[in-house]
């Protein structure tokens, strides 16, 4: 009995994500059979598209990069109990400022890269801080204000690249900045692959954040505030300060995600190129799936990115539409949100105790 309990305690945190992923894939299987494709073959294609060879695998990691960095930022905010839904706007504003900094700051490549990073992080952080300031000063609900500021930021960035800073060199007037010069590009990790240094930055950040939460008093204060704000303020945690700081950092990280995407993948800011793939929302999902754990976020970010790149491969090779990935993803998020498996498991156990059967 004792051993059984110990095993249960060891496995119960793992059980929940695994059951959720299982049900998610099951739902995917239903969707696949609706379009009339063979289920196992389709899932094999999905796997091959994500990890089939070295090239696909690095593409998956490249795709995971912005998701991971945004996820880390959001996980910090969620840990502090701050509902920052504004990652999308923060990412886009950061990306456009980084692109402009890399274009117009004079100097060698390294200066351009650094100034782009600084500009991307600070602008996005300040934008995020605006929502935090409105919450603490005027009690404007963070949840709503961050959501609304998304639209404002995305539209403003779209204005910047379609009017004053538009690339007029090409024949077609696309809403994008001119191409950055090659010295300002983030170097690739492997020649010919899309994976760039941003991924390393993301992984290092995840590890650093893990240790900050685990070892430092700052991490403890943030965690305490998230778990029980009243207890935290009783214990002398300055709620306003932590809220503003976590808003700035989570916004700054979202901006960093946009920045590395511009410097490492697109080499210019293209209107809609960051919002289209839904990096911000996927990053949030990664955090929720990982229950705001930094290292867990890294794993879930890669998992979600793999679903996306795998689905692209799926669409290339089969008739199954790409959107199968978003169906699986959203089922996952619903299951995780409900902690369905866990509650179900508890209820079943309780029922057994009461009735002595079932």
């Amino acid at each position: 009995m004792k051993a059984q309990q110990r095993i249960q305690r060891l496995l119960s945190p793992l059980l929940q994500p695994f059951i959720a992923i299982f049900i998610g894939l099951l739902t995917g299987a239903i969707a696949i059979s609706i379009v009339g494709a063979p289920i196992l073959e389709t899932y094999k294609e999905l796997w091959m598209g994500a990890f089939g060879n070295f090239y696909f695998m690095t593409s998956t990691f490249a795709r995971a990069t912005p998701i991971l960095i945004i996820g880390l930022g959001v996980s910090l905010a969620f840990r502090a109990g701050v509902f920052n839904l504004g990652a999308e706007g923060q990412m886009v504003l950061g990306a456009v400022s980084a692109a402009l900094a890399a274009l117009y700051v004079p100097g060698p490549g390294i200066v351009k890269i650094l100034s782009a990073l600084i500009a991307g992080i600070t602008v996005a952080g300040l934008w995020s801080l605006l929502a935090g300031w409105m919450e603490t000063k005027f009690k404007v609900q963070l949840l709503i204000s961050t959501l609304l500021l998304n639209y404002v930021a995305v539209l403003f960035a779209s204005f910047l690249v379609s009017e004053p800073f538009q690339d007029r060199s090409g024949s077609a007037a696309l809403a994008q900045t001119p191409m950055l010069e090659q010295a300002a590009w983030l170097p690739k990790l492997f020649a010919g692959m899309s994976l760039h240094w941003g991924f390393i930055i993301g992984v290092i950040l995840a590890i650093v954040m893990y240790f900050i939460f685990k070892l430092t008093s700052v991490g403890y204060e943030v965690k305490m505030l998230g778990l029980n704000p009243y207890f935290a303020s009783y214990g002398g945690v300055n709620k306003t300060k932590v809220l503003l700081a976590s808003m700035f950092i989570s916004g700054g990280l979202a901006g960093l995600a946009g920045t590395v995407e511009v410097l490492g993948t697109q080499y210019r800011f293209v209107d809609g190129a960051l919002t289209g793939p839904g990096f911000a929302w996927t990053g949030m999902m990664a955090t929720l799936l990982a229950n705001s754990h930094p290292l867990g976020t890294a794993v879930t970010a890669i998992f979600l990115a793999a679903l996306e790149t795998g689905a692209m491969g799926l669409e290339r090779n089969t008739d199954v539409p790409l959107e199968i990935a978003s169906v699986i993803k959203s089922v996952l998020i619903l299951l995780i949100s409900a902690k369905i498996s866990f509650n179900w498991w508890k209820r079943m156990k309780k029922g057994r105790d009461k009735n002595g059967m079932v």
Binding site: A31, I34, V35, F78, R79, G81, V82, F83, L85, M134, F138, K139, V140, Q141, L142, L143, I144, S145, L147, L148, L149, Y151, V152, L155, F156, S158, F159, S162, E163, G226, L227, P229, W281, M284, M285, L288, N291, S292, P321, E323, I324, A325, S326, V327, K329, S330, V331, I333, L334, S337, A338, K339, I340, N343
Partner: protein, 305 residues
């Protein structure tokens, strides 16, 4: 081109309808203490199933019923997760939004085999109804007459909801649940059932909002066609302080902004700023509303995990 005329008001009323319907749904949920962020997704599902219903049955009435039904099923899912399993309603709502976006684009491919948008010239939209006497009045006639039945229904429903909430026993019980669920439970109210009732009503309303969106003006479905209207409806709920009559006012404001930003595109202003207008105004409005009506959500909002 004039920037203000009867046509502007007429298009305002048309744009108010989906926002108003969804905002009423959000209000009922807010009244039982559930903050429904999933309005956007529920409307999207409604819009898509309205087109599906229309395509396969050929009847506009059945299409609207189908839309309301399907949205109701998804709101039931929302209710099950947030009421029964006590998940964070905000996270569930966001999940519903993702699910709606994924399922509708997937459905576009699976059912109609198209990507992006579906349009069929044989489909008929909601018929326009001319009000007999009113349509002959010069200015008013142009503004008020010639809308779809759902537009009129949305205003009627707002008034009905007002009477339901403030003039019936059931309505009072619903309000009691929102004010204090534990207290309401202690006097023997079936709080969970009342919450389910509210969530289901919200689903039906969002389904109708979606039907108005996809069948009202243009008879087509485009990927993510709600374009933030669900969130605007959510804010309209808060601006109207979850009171049906207040919501008519706030929805009208947002509808006017919507219509205005379309209208102003005709002038040389960059379209981004006109499109930004509703959101900026909403943010400014939030300063004046801060802790009324929305107060009950403040505590819930802070607990994310």
């Amino acid at each position: 081109m004039e920037w203000f005329d009867a046509a502007l008001l007429s298009s305002t009323i048309r744009m108010v309808a989906p926002i108003l319907l969804a905002a009423l749904g959000g209000a009922i949920c807010a009244r039982v203490g559930i903050f429904n962020v999933g309005l956007e997704g529920l409307i999207l599902i409604g819009a898509f199933s309205a087109i599906v219903g229309n395509y396969f049955t050929g009847s506009v009435f059945l299409a609207v019923c189908f839309a309301a039904g399907v949205s109701m099923i998804f709101s039931l899912l929302f209710g099950y997760l947030s009421i029964h399993l006590q998940a964070n309603a905000i996270v569930v709502g966001l999940g519903i939004n993702f699910l709606a976006l994924g399922l509708t684009t997937f459905g576009l491919r699976a059912i109609f085999d198209v990507k992006g948008a579906f349009y069929d010239k044989d489909m008929t939209g909601l018929p326009k109804i001319d009000i007999p006497l009113v349509k002959d009045i010069p200015f008013l006639g142009e503004v008020l007459s010639g809308h779809s039945a759902l537009v009129y229904l949305s205003f009627i429903l707002a008034i009905l909801l007002f009477f339901f909430l403030y003039r019936t026993v059931m309505g009072f019980r619903v309000l009691a649940v929102g004010m204090n669920k534990v207290a309401a439970n202690s006097i023997g109210l079936k709080t969970n059932s009342l919450q389910y009732l509210a969530v289901l009503m919200c689903g039906i309303l969002c389904g109708m909002a979606g039907a108005q969106l996809s069948l009202g003006q243009v008879t087509m479905f485009t990927e993510g066609m709600t374009a933030g209207r669900g969130f605007i409806a959510l804010v309209a709920t808060m601006l109207g302080q979850s009171h049906p009559i207040g919501i008519i006012g706030s929805s009208f404001l947002f509808g006017l902004m919507d219509a205005l930003s379309v209208r102003l595109q005709g002038f040389s202003m960059p379209t981004q700023f006109t499109a930004m207008l509703p959101y900026v105004i909403t943010i400014i409005a939030m300063f004046f509303l801060k802790d009324r009506g929305a107060a009950s959500q403040m505590s819930e909002q802070q607990s994310s995990r």
